[in-house]
Protein backbone atom coordinates (compact mmCIF):
# COMPACT_ATOMS: atom_id res chain seq x y z
CA UNK A 1 0.00 0.00 0.00
CA UNK A 2 2.52 2.64 1.14
CA UNK A 3 5.74 2.31 -0.83
CA UNK A 4 8.77 4.44 -1.68
CA UNK A 5 6.99 5.96 -4.68
CA UNK A 6 4.21 7.24 -2.43
CA UNK A 7 6.74 8.54 0.09
CA UNK A 8 8.52 10.50 -2.66
CA UNK A 9 5.17 11.86 -3.88
CA UNK A 10 4.28 12.95 -0.33
CA UNK A 11 7.62 14.76 0.00
CA UNK A 12 6.95 16.39 -3.38
CA UNK A 13 3.61 17.73 -2.06
CA UNK A 14 5.38 19.19 0.98
CA UNK A 15 8.04 20.86 -1.20
CA UNK A 16 5.44 22.18 -3.66
CA UNK A 17 3.32 23.46 -0.76
CA UNK A 18 6.33 25.18 0.80
CA UNK A 19 7.23 26.80 -2.55
CA UNK A 20 3.66 28.07 -3.05
CA UNK A 21 3.48 29.33 0.53
CA UNK A 22 6.93 30.96 0.27
CA UNK A 23 6.10 32.70 -3.02
CA UNK A 24 2.82 33.89 -1.58
CA UNK A 25 4.45 35.26 1.59
CA UNK A 26 7.15 36.95 -0.54
CA UNK A 27 4.26 38.46 -2.56
CA UNK A 28 5.56 36.98 -5.81
CA UNK A 29 2.15 35.35 -6.19
CA UNK A 30 -0.49 37.96 -5.39
CA UNK A 31 -3.28 35.79 -4.09
CA UNK A 32 -4.04 34.27 -0.72
CA UNK A 33 -5.41 31.22 -2.59
CA UNK A 34 -1.83 30.08 -3.23
CA UNK A 35 -0.94 30.41 0.45
CA UNK A 36 -3.98 28.33 1.36
CA UNK A 37 -3.18 25.80 -1.34
CA UNK A 38 0.43 25.61 -0.12
CA UNK A 39 -0.67 25.08 3.47
CA UNK A 40 -3.09 22.36 2.43
CA UNK A 41 -0.43 20.58 0.36
CA UNK A 42 2.01 20.67 3.27
CA UNK A 43 -0.65 19.26 5.61
CA UNK A 44 -1.55 16.47 3.17
CA UNK A 45 2.12 15.66 2.56
CA UNK A 46 2.98 15.53 6.27
CA UNK A 47 -0.07 13.33 6.98
CA UNK A 48 0.87 10.95 4.18
CA UNK A 49 4.50 10.75 5.35
CA UNK A 50 3.33 10.02 8.91
CA UNK A 51 1.01 7.27 7.65
CA UNK A 52 3.75 5.87 5.44
CA UNK A 53 6.23 5.69 8.34
CA UNK A 54 3.62 4.11 10.64
CA UNK A 55 2.81 1.57 7.92
CA UNK A 56 6.48 0.59 7.75
CA UNK A 57 7.00 0.32 11.51
CA UNK A 58 3.67 -0.94 12.88
CA UNK A 59 2.92 -4.52 11.74
CA UNK A 60 -0.64 -4.48 13.09
CA UNK A 61 -1.41 -1.21 11.29
CA UNK A 62 0.14 -2.59 8.08
CA UNK A 63 -2.09 -5.69 8.24
CA UNK A 64 -5.16 -3.52 8.89
CA UNK A 65 -4.42 -1.21 5.95
CA UNK A 66 -3.56 -4.10 3.60
CA UNK A 67 -6.82 -5.87 4.49
CA UNK A 68 -8.84 -2.68 4.02
CA UNK A 69 -7.30 -2.07 0.61
CA UNK A 70 -7.45 -5.63 -0.71
CA UNK A 71 -10.80 -6.56 0.88
CA UNK A 72 -13.10 -7.52 -2.01
CA UNK A 73 -16.23 -6.03 -0.40
CA UNK A 74 -14.43 -2.72 0.07
CA UNK A 75 -13.33 -2.80 -3.58
CA UNK A 76 -16.92 -3.55 -4.60
CA UNK A 77 -18.23 -0.70 -2.44
CA UNK A 78 -15.67 1.73 -3.89
CA UNK A 79 -16.66 0.70 -7.41
CA UNK A 80 -20.38 1.06 -6.64
CA UNK A 81 -19.80 4.45 -5.02
CA UNK A 82 -18.04 5.73 -8.15
CA UNK A 83 -20.84 4.32 -10.27
CA UNK A 84 -23.53 6.06 -8.19
CA UNK A 85 -21.48 9.27 -8.15
CA UNK A 86 -21.29 9.19 -11.95
CA UNK A 87 -25.06 8.75 -12.27
CA UNK A 88 -25.83 11.51 -9.75
CA UNK A 89 -23.40 13.97 -11.37
CA UNK A 90 -24.72 13.37 -14.90
CA UNK A 91 -28.35 13.65 -13.77
CA UNK A 92 -27.66 16.79 -11.68
CA UNK A 93 -25.84 18.40 -14.57
CA UNK A 94 -28.61 17.49 -17.00
CA UNK A 95 -31.14 19.14 -14.64
CA UNK A 96 -28.73 22.09 -14.39
CA UNK A 97 -28.66 22.44 -18.19
CA UNK A 98 -32.47 22.68 -18.32
CA UNK A 99 -32.56 25.08 -15.35
CA UNK A 100 -29.86 27.29 -16.90
CA UNK A 101 -31.76 27.30 -20.18
CA UNK A 102 -34.98 28.41 -18.46
CA UNK A 103 -33.12 31.10 -16.48
CA UNK A 104 -31.34 32.33 -19.61
CA UNK A 105 -27.86 31.61 -18.21
CA UNK A 106 -26.37 30.56 -21.53
CA UNK A 107 -22.73 30.34 -20.42
CA UNK A 108 -23.65 28.06 -17.50
CA UNK A 109 -25.85 26.02 -19.83
CA UNK A 110 -22.98 25.64 -22.31
CA UNK A 111 -20.43 24.64 -19.65
CA UNK A 112 -22.81 22.08 -18.10
CA UNK A 113 -23.70 20.68 -21.54
CA UNK A 114 -20.02 20.23 -22.39
CA UNK A 115 -19.47 18.59 -19.01
CA UNK A 116 -22.31 16.10 -19.59
CA UNK A 117 -20.91 15.31 -23.05
CA UNK A 118 -17.41 14.85 -21.61
CA UNK A 119 -18.63 12.46 -18.90
CA UNK A 120 -20.70 10.46 -21.40
CA UNK A 121 -17.71 10.29 -23.78
CA UNK A 122 -15.49 9.11 -20.90
CA UNK A 123 -18.11 6.46 -20.02
CA UNK A 124 -18.29 5.27 -23.63
CA UNK A 125 -14.47 5.10 -23.97
CA UNK A 126 -14.20 3.23 -20.64
CA UNK A 127 -16.90 0.79 -21.75
CA UNK A 128 -15.09 0.12 -25.05
CA UNK A 129 -11.75 -0.46 -23.29
CA UNK A 130 -13.31 -2.74 -20.68
CA UNK A 131 -15.30 -4.63 -23.32
CA UNK A 132 -12.07 -5.59 -25.06
CA UNK A 133 -10.32 -6.37 -21.79
CA UNK A 134 -12.97 -8.71 -20.31
Amino acid sequence: MYNNKKLILSIFWIVLGAVLLGLSVAEVLDSSIYAGMGGALIAIGVLQVARNLRYRKDTEYREKIDTEVSDERNRYLRMMSWSWTGYVVVLAEAVGVVAAMILGKHTVQLVLSYSVCLILAAYWISYMILKNKY
Binding site: T67, E68, S70, D71, E72, R73, N74, Y76
Partner: protein, 65 residues
Amino acid sequence: MKNRIEEIRNRKGIRQEEFARLMGVSRQTISSLENGRYNPSIMLAYKIAKYFEMTIEEVFIFEED
Protein backbone atom coordinates in the same frame (compact mmCIF):
# COMPACT_ATOMS: atom_id res chain seq x y z
CA MET B 1 -27.56 -16.23 -2.16
CA LYS B 2 -27.91 -18.00 1.17
CA ASN B 3 -24.96 -19.67 2.86
CA ARG B 4 -24.06 -21.73 5.91
CA ILE B 5 -20.92 -19.81 6.85
CA GLU B 6 -22.16 -18.70 10.29
CA GLU B 7 -23.40 -22.17 11.17
CA ILE B 8 -20.19 -23.92 10.10
CA ARG B 9 -17.96 -21.23 11.62
CA ASN B 10 -19.76 -21.49 14.96
CA ARG B 11 -19.54 -25.26 14.85
CA LYS B 12 -15.79 -24.97 14.38
CA GLY B 13 -15.60 -22.38 17.18
CA ILE B 14 -13.94 -19.66 15.15
CA ARG B 15 -14.66 -16.00 15.84
CA GLN B 16 -15.55 -13.63 12.99
CA GLU B 17 -12.32 -11.63 13.44
CA GLU B 18 -10.16 -14.74 13.26
CA PHE B 19 -12.06 -16.15 10.30
CA ALA B 20 -11.78 -12.80 8.48
CA ARG B 21 -8.01 -12.75 9.09
CA LEU B 22 -7.67 -16.30 7.76
CA MET B 23 -9.67 -15.42 4.64
CA GLY B 24 -7.75 -12.15 4.11
CA VAL B 25 -10.87 -9.99 4.29
CA SER B 26 -12.36 -7.58 6.81
CA ARG B 27 -14.65 -8.65 9.65
CA GLN B 28 -17.41 -6.56 8.04
CA THR B 29 -17.14 -8.69 4.90
CA ILE B 30 -17.68 -11.87 6.91
CA SER B 31 -20.60 -10.24 8.70
CA SER B 32 -22.17 -9.15 5.39
CA LEU B 33 -21.65 -12.62 3.93
CA GLU B 34 -23.30 -14.27 6.90
CA ASN B 35 -26.25 -11.88 6.74
CA GLY B 36 -26.63 -12.54 3.02
CA ARG B 37 -26.12 -8.86 2.17
CA TYR B 38 -23.04 -9.53 0.06
CA ASN B 39 -22.28 -12.34 -2.39
CA PRO B 40 -18.62 -13.36 -2.49
CA SER B 41 -16.42 -13.64 -5.54
CA ILE B 42 -15.78 -17.16 -6.78
CA MET B 43 -12.25 -16.91 -5.38
CA LEU B 44 -13.46 -16.08 -1.87
CA ALA B 45 -16.22 -18.69 -2.05
CA TYR B 46 -13.62 -21.28 -3.05
CA LYS B 47 -11.27 -20.17 -0.27
CA ILE B 48 -14.04 -20.42 2.35
CA ALA B 49 -15.22 -23.82 1.12
CA LYS B 50 -11.64 -25.10 1.03
CA TYR B 51 -11.01 -23.88 4.58
CA PHE B 52 -14.14 -25.70 5.79
CA GLU B 53 -13.03 -28.78 3.79
CA MET B 54 -16.33 -28.74 1.92
CA THR B 55 -17.51 -28.07 -1.60
CA ILE B 56 -18.80 -24.64 -2.61
CA GLU B 57 -22.31 -26.12 -3.03
CA GLU B 58 -22.25 -27.39 0.55
CA VAL B 59 -21.48 -23.91 1.91
CA PHE B 60 -23.40 -21.71 -0.50
CA ILE B 61 -27.01 -22.34 -1.42
CA PHE B 62 -27.78 -21.09 -4.91
CA GLU B 63 -31.32 -19.82 -5.35
CA GLU B 64 -32.59 -18.38 -8.61
CA ASP B 65 -34.48 -15.09 -8.09
